[in-house]
């Protein structure tokens, strides 16, 4: 059984790109340091050796022009994978992403399309700080014409990568640094994880936790803590943010009547706000709450950084308060930190 093989997220990314490049010689991979000895934390390891410097190459620090190059190459018959080692660096390519990539197919009446994948990695912990930690996916969700995917596990990292490369549109591929060593069952043969299909990772009847990217794992840990209190949580992974599986989120919310969306980004105008707004427009009677980065800049000191992110304890507390308002519940911070490493491996 191939699905008994486990793979880390980083190796799943690597395998996804490798297989996508093997099946289509128009695919090329570029970005600062994709071909060096560290190979983007290992995610591009061995690719220049297999595919050569014409298809795997580093770039000058010219994110604006390199993004434009990807677009121009894409509309002329190639399929670039543009890699950024931190999501924060995408800000240097925003003009091309927002003004060209997202609009090329529509603005020119369907004459051309932009099949490109833009990989970027969200950093976290160990003092990544203000400019190495941002989850900026909501900026891209705002722009019609872009697709945004955020794999939370190795299986999806590979399946979404292959689907993204085969897609004929610009796909913002949002990775998370802390997920790189996590393992899941991953088939060896090429496969796609479809966009726009949320996945229930854990079922529970009391509260629905929607996690984005790495927050799926934090939600799973929170669910373990809640279970000890007799509260059963559903954990839902949207998998892709654009297209977003609004219907599934609504169904899973209706089942429990309680929803907490935990984003790996800020709440203001974010993915969590979008999900709650959709549910409000549907007339949901569920109790709803958003969680995400604290509405401030990410600090480097661990004493402050710990307060910046939702964690299993704060998520579990929020769920507890929603279900049992006014009742005291303080998970031991050490227990929360050391909460069972759920590390969901599938099957999917």
């Amino acid at each position: 059984m191939t699905d008994t093989r486990t793979l880390t997220y980083v190796n799943a990314l690597n395998e996804g790109m490798r297989q996508a490049m093997r099946e289509d010689e128009r695919v090329f991979l570029f970005g600062l340091d994709v071909d060096d000895h560290k190979a983007i934390q290992g995610s591009t390891k061995g690719l220049v050796e297999e595919f050569g410097a014409e298809r795997v190459f580093t770039t000058p620090l010219s994110e604006d022009a390199m993004t434009g190059l990807a677009i121009g190459a894409a509309v002329s018959g190639m399929r670039p994978i543009h890699t950024h080692i931190r999501m924060d660096f995408l800000m240097l390519g925003m003009n091309q992403l927002v003004n060209m990539a997202s609009k090329y197919h529509y603005m020119y009446g369907g004459a051309a399309s932009v099949p490109m994948v833009v990989r970027s990695m969200i950093g976290k912990s160990w003092g990544q700080g203000a400019q190495h930690s941002q989850g900026l996916h909501a900026l891209f969700m705002h722009i019609p014409g872009l697709k945004v995917v955020a794999p939370s596990n190795a299986h999806d990292a590979k399946g979404l990568m292959i689907a993204a490369v085969r897609d004929n549109n610009p796909v913002m591929f949002v990775e998370h640094r802390l997920l790189y060593p996590t393992e899941a069952f991953v088939e060896e043969a090429p496969f796609e994880v479809p966009f726009g299909k949320a996945r229930v990772i854990r079922e529970g009847g009391d509260v629905t936790l929607v996690g984005v990217s790495n927050m799926v794992n934090e939600c799973l840990r929170a669910a373990e803590l809640l279970q000890e209190e007799g509260i059963e949580a559903t954990v839902l992974d949207p998998v892709s943010l654009i297209p977003l599986d609004y219907d599934r989120i609504a169904r899973e919310t209706d089942k429990t009547g309680n929803l907490i969306v935990v984003d790996n980004g800020w709440t203001c105008c974010g993915a969590s706000a979008e999900i709650l707004a959709d549910l409000a427009e549907r007339g949901t009677r569920a109790k709803m709450k958003r969680m995400g980065f604290a509405p401030t800049t990410c600090p480097t000191s661990p004493a402050l950084e710990a307060l910046f992110y939702p964690n299993p304890a704060t998520i579990a507390q929020a769920a507890h308060e929603m279900l049992r308002p006014g009742k005291t519940y303080s998970p031991d911070p050490e227990r929360a930190k050391l909460a069972y490493q759920v590390a969901f491996k599938g099957p999917f």
Binding site: D64, G68, I71, A73, V75, S76, Q96, Y108, A111, G145
Partner: protein, 335 residues
């Protein structure tokens, strides 16, 4: 211009002159007609006219083959037409009609002609420099032998993406001809308020890119330089740069003149009019040839405007069409 040599491809034959004149005159007359119709409000798009600047696009595009690419600017009617873009599809696009080259979704600033490899034009200055670079990258990787002419204005040279693109094009020896249309104005602000020095060719040469300056944008000179640059690039040579000094006769956007607005007077305009390339090249044709070309152009333009007038508006369901491309989408060609 070097001395003519026998069979020198850079020296225009009588056929070449007729073709150059036809292209120059077509662009001039299409845009004059756009300006004439504009006050009727039938054109539903801001227009940035190239009148006075046609020689740059014509000199560069004349030696290009269909397989070669052009990456135009928002002042791009001239490049679009010079590369062979459809006149009816352009006018219909300006009218916002379903038959436009961008199906009525792009307008004057977003012309595209995939069938002749005119890439999509952008309203954001400098943006189509890197996208043209990408097309050049694709030509080199796909070994098509095609080259890319990237048009840009003097303003675009102030954007970081311009220098990023020069550097990458030179580093990877990409077949890209950077064509700078230097009309000295960014909207209404002159280069003297924007440039520390005007030695743009020197700046470009520091990247190892050959650069040439054309102080009057003589169409024959630009064409000759382009022919040589194309030959070098098809032979594996890297990028080339042309600074074509030119003059925008009309206002930045819109159909009119603006010499009464106080930011410039008409003295330079009169100098440029005196060496108008449309007239100069037209003057080298026989009257018979010129009349025949003029008449054919008038018919073509009349038919194009009639086509635009008669074309339908896009249906309401087109509002959401083509936001995303399907899996089975195949482009018309390249672009």
């Amino acid at each position: 211009m070097s001395a003519p040599r026998p069979n020198d491809p850079t020296q225009p034959t009588a056929d070449d002159l007729r073709r150059l004149y036809r292209s120059l005159r077509l662009i001039r007359r299409v845009e004059e007609e756009v300006a004439r119709v504009y006050p009727t409000d039938k054109i539903k798009s801001p227009v940035h006219l190239s009148i006075g600047q046609e020689a740059v696009a014509v000199g560069v595009c004349d030696p290009l083959e269909t397989r070669d690419y052009v990456s135009p600017t928002y002042r791009g009617h001239a490049a679009y037409l010079a590369k062979g873009g459809s006149v009816p599809a352009m006018i219909a696009e300006l009218y916002g009609k379903a038959t436009g080259c961008a199906a009525g979704k792009g307008g004057s600033m977003h012309l595209i002609a995939p069938e002749v490899n005119v890439m999509g034009a952008s309203a954001v200055v400098g943006t189509t420099v890197p996208t043209g670079l990408g097309a050049a990258f694709a030509q080199k990787r796909l070994r098509t032998g095609a080259v890319v002419a990237v048009f840009l204005g003097d303003g675009a040279t102030e954007e970081g993406a311009f220098y990023e693109s020069l550097n990458f094009a030179a580093l990877h020896r990409l077949p890209v001809l950077f064509v700078m249309e230097n009309n000295g104005l960014a909207i209404h602000t002159g280069t003297e308020k924007r440039w520390a020095t005007d030695r743009i060719c020197e700046r470009v040469e520091t990247y190892g890119i050959p650069a040439q300056r054309f102080p009057t944008s003589d169409v024959i000179d630009i064409r000759a330089a382009t022919i040589e640059a194309i030959a070098a690039m098809r032979d594996g040579g890297g990028p080339h740069f042309l600074e074509c000094v030119t003059y925008r006769w009309r206002e930045h956007v819109g159909p009119g003149y603006d010499y009464d607005q106080g930011y410039r007077d008409d003295s330079a305009y009169k100098e440029w009019q005196a060496r108008d390339q449309v007239e100069l090249i037209g003057g080298r044709l026989t009257d018979t040839d010129r009349d025949a070309i003029d008449a054919a152009i008038e018919t073509e333009i009349a038919e194009a405007f009639a086509f635009a007038e008669d074309s339908p508006w896009p249906e309401p369901d087109r509002l959401y069409a083509d936001l995303y491309a399907d899996r089975d989408f195949t482009p018309v060609r390249g672009v």
